[in-house]
């Protein structure tokens, strides 16, 4: 609603790994963060102006995020003895116990009022209770002066086909919530949040990172003329990509829900050999299982996009939480000398371009590409100005052309002298029969254990990946191009770091979308600064990677490994300390 109204918007769900985590307990609390603004919003926000706590556990879990000026809205009906006990409160006043008693506290009997509102709706009690959130949304709309019409339209569109009977009750309860908030006179201040003025004209929509990855891949399929094939195994938080692609068969996309992660990547490699734009999607533990097959894709020099929506690790780790700790795995997690392209998306909407570019590089450079996303991006959403496909470049894979001369054999690993890219012949093409596989071969595609040939092929495969740098954009610095301190980030920390440097002002900031290879001007950019502060949600993997490549510069680490995004104030403190 706020997006349609024209506000800046960023959202982020935070939920436990259990599907039905024990209700009413602190560990079972699910939350949804919404950040709206009259200017562009970069992050879902750190501290809140309004906390809606539907039960005591939710209050306990999130009270610490309330600003000193915040308003807290709770459902009085849930703050009974049992609820208080489950949440582990020791006294009768949860607000005092949490030291938030000085905030504006609105205690409303939301459950009772919802039941009252819908008693004549014909819905059963279970269905009525599901409408509590609409009553509460109505209250929030009053507090933030939101017009209800956008929600009415949303409800009409959402339920028109499957459940038209719930449209009117939902409208009613929303409206009753709004009026209740207006009537109780407990809410002294209401707020207005004007639409963003400088928004670029155009058609907008809201999009999550996982959805944007799926759509970016479909865009690359269209621009390359190759059907999209996605072989994947369900894994949190990446499953949304497979689910999204499964919907869009109308664009010729084939999805295969594989029997395991290894089959996911191996079916994709097979599909790539057969000439599709092949993709597999996963999260950290799944990427571990795909390691051997990734080596096969490197060796056979077939295009392949691997999307890793990172979560907290190692092992099963924190499946529903966000982290950037798969970078080392993406760069190095294979046997042998096995370089491939590694890139990262930096916001939910940017996932579209990142996926498109990952596919373009894979197809044009005949290499696997790992695109790193994060739970924070995959599940997070933001408004997106819808692009036109006419503005995206064509994708041109190095297909073999023409016919071979009599007696001539196709040499699958003969390379373009400029790019080191091999040519691609697809099964079904007459005369180009050839074999690929995991064993080392020479340029002609014949098995070879010749020592010199192996070293040559190792070098050539690495050089091919290194030369991708010629096709990627230069690293840009936001702020002064030289100085004492350069703040560096990669991936999904973009919004938080950008907010932090904007808040401080005058800080230089460079964000990496491409990690292997790095943008060609990286060293040049670094050379203009005395020290470089690398901010990332791991123990310093990117900082170590940069240090290995540029030992002449001073890198300082700023890390967080809590399964949660940075807070903007954590970053401003870290940056100020180094300024």
């Amino acid at each position: 609603m706020s997006a349609i109204y024209g506000n800046g918007l960023s959202t982020f769900p935070d939920y436990p790994a259990e599907i039905r985590a024990p209700h009413g307990t602190v560990s079972g609390v699910s939350g949804f963060q919404v950040h709206i603004g009259s200017t562009k919003v970069n992050t879902p926000g750190d501290f809140c102006d309004l906390l809606v706590a539907m039960n005591p556990a939710a209050l306990k879990a999130n009270a610490k995020w309330c600003k000193p000026t915040a308003m807290i809205l709770v459902d009085d009906d849930a703050f009974n003895e049992a609820g208080m006990k489950k949440a582990g409160f020791k006294t009768e006043n949860p607000f005092e116990e949490l030291k938030v008693e000085d905030r504006t506290i609105i205690v409303a009997p939301i459950t009772t009022l919802t039941q009252e509102s819908l008693k004549d709706s014909g819905m059963d009690n279970k269905a009525i209770l599901k409408c509590k959130n609409m009553f509460t949304l109505g209250m929030a709309c009053y507090i933030y002066s939101r017009p209800l019409e956008y929600i009415y339209t949303y409800l009409e569109n959402k339920f028109a086909k499957k459940h038209p009977e719930v449209i009117e009750p939902n409208k009613k309860v929303l409206n009753d919530g709004y009026n209740y908030a207006a009537n109780i006179q407990a809410i002294a201040n209401t707020y207005t949040c004007e639409p963003v003025k400088a928004q670029k004209p155009g058609l907008y929509r809201n999009i999550t990172g996982n959805q944007a990855v799926a759509w970016g891949l479909l865009a690359a399929s269209e621009k390359s003329g190759l059907p999209l094939f996605c072989g994947s195994y369900p894994i949190t938080p990446a499953t949304g990509i497979l689910e999204e692609l499964a919907i869009h068969k109308s664009l010729g996309c084939k999805t295969l829900q594989a029997e395991d992660e290894i089959a996911g990547i191996c079916t994709a490699i097979g599909a790539s050999f057969a000439g599709d734009l092949a993709v597999t999607t996963t999260s950290g533990p799944g990427l571990s299982l795909k390691s051997e097959a990734l080596g096969l894709a490197v060796m056979t020099e077939l295009p392949l996009v691997v999307v890793d929506v990172q979560r907290g690790g190692p092992s099963t780790g924190l499946p529903t939480k966000t982290e950037q700790s798969d970078l080392d795995q993406a760069l190095y997690g294979r046997n042998g000398e096995c370089p491939l392209v590694v890139m990262a998306a930096h916001s939910p909407a940017n996932c579209f371009d990142a996926a498109f570019n990952a596919a373009k590089i894979a197809l044009e450079h005949m290499t696997p590409v790992i695109l790193l996303s994060e739970g924070f991006l995959g599940n997070g959403s933001e408004p997106w100005r819808i692009p036109s496909m006419a503005d995206y470049p064509a994708i041109k894979p190095p297909f073999v052309t023409g016919v071979l001369a009599e007696g001539e054999r196709f040499e699958p690993f003969k390379r373009d002298p400029e790019t080191f890219v091999r040519r691609w012949a697809i099964p079904g093409q007459k005369g180009f029969e050839h074999r690929v596989g995991g064993l080392e071969k020479n340029h002609s595609g014949v098995l070879s254990s010749d020592p010199a040939n192996h070293e040559l092929m190792v070098r050539e495969r690495a050089e091919k990946v290194a030369r991708v740098a010629r096709d990627i954009p230069a690293l840009e610095v936001d702020g002064p191009a030289s100085g004492n301190l350069l703040v560096v980030g990669w991936g999904g920390t973009y919004g938080h770091i950008k907010s932090a440097v904007d808040e401080i002002g005058g800080v230089s900031y460079a964000h990496f979308d491409y990690i292997n290879p790095l943008p060609a001007n990286t060293g040049e950019v670094f050379a203009a600064f005395k020290k470089i502060l690398v901010c990332e949600l791991n123990s310093g993997q990117f900082a170590d990677y940069l240090r290995a490549r540029f030992p002449e510069f001073e890198f300082i680490k700023c890390n967080k490994v809590q399964g949660q995004p940075f807070l903007v104030n954590e970053l401003t403190e870290a940056i100020k300390k180094e300024m």
Binding site: Y154, R205, N206, F229, K254, M389, P427, L439
Partner: protein
Amino acid sequence: MANLTFKDFKSDQEVRWCPGCGDHAVLAALQRALPKVSLALDYDKERYVVVSGIGCSSRLPYYMDTYGFHGIHGRATAISTGIKVANPWLTIWQACGDGDALAIGGNHFIHAIRRNIDINIILFNNQIYGLTKGQYSPTSKLGAITKTSPYGTVEHPFNPGSLVLGAKGTFFARSLDVELKLNEEIMTAAALHDGCSVMEMLTNCVIFNDGAHKALTDPAVKADHTIVLRDGEKMIFGKDRNKGLVFDGKKIRVVTIGEEGGFTEDDVLVHNSHSDNIGLHMALADMKGPDYPVALGVIRDVKDITYDDGVRDQVKEVMAKSKIHCVDDLLRSGSTWEVK
């Protein structure tokens, strides 16, 4: 028009299997079967893709002058699946071993069968790990003495036929490496079968497991220890062609025709690989010595929906119905708003 000979399928690579290895004969049968298949189905050579995993038999793609993919250990079936789904027009032949397909690749193997994807799997079963030089495999007999079981294995082997039919496989055949003619027949039937075809080839590893199938190949006893099943033919076997398989109301029995229990030739079962009766096919696939002959030939060959057709048809169906025909349509679908 496909007018190919076995030479068209021979690559210029030197075949590096050990002299006397059973794999040579299977390769020869395949190179002889494919020209016939090509003629019958009007397939050109570029339509063939030969896929393999890792192991001795998995070198096979290098010896075939077709498109080929030498994969990684156990994963041939997954690679084949991807190729077939990407382009159902291609015809896939897969070579894999007992360790490759049934141990490390067991999961992909059963799921390809469950999905009934139209690929042809030749399972080279020599009951040993050959390329790693002689460790027991999932088909090694209980008690087998190998390098990793110096005191004998303490685990039961898989019977690949039971595994395939247990996963509701639509095509299963078994043969011996040396049966060139039968193997050509089986491979042709597999090629004509629309769905996942598994051909178990009992191969001899001359180095690490020589004579593993001797009870089935030794001319002196072969006729009594094996039965070749052919559609429409009675299940009669034996040196004197006087033994038959009958169903006694509870199970299959071996009888000497005209002697035991008054069973005559009329009582002997007639093979029908196309029958729905998976129970009978399983019983035939399960047969082993000393009480039963080992069944060779096409044991089961039935029609069912295939995965590759399903994927292709669903895409077509949704394409015809959907209002979204290009990415621009997609991007503008659902809730959007205009900023002026």
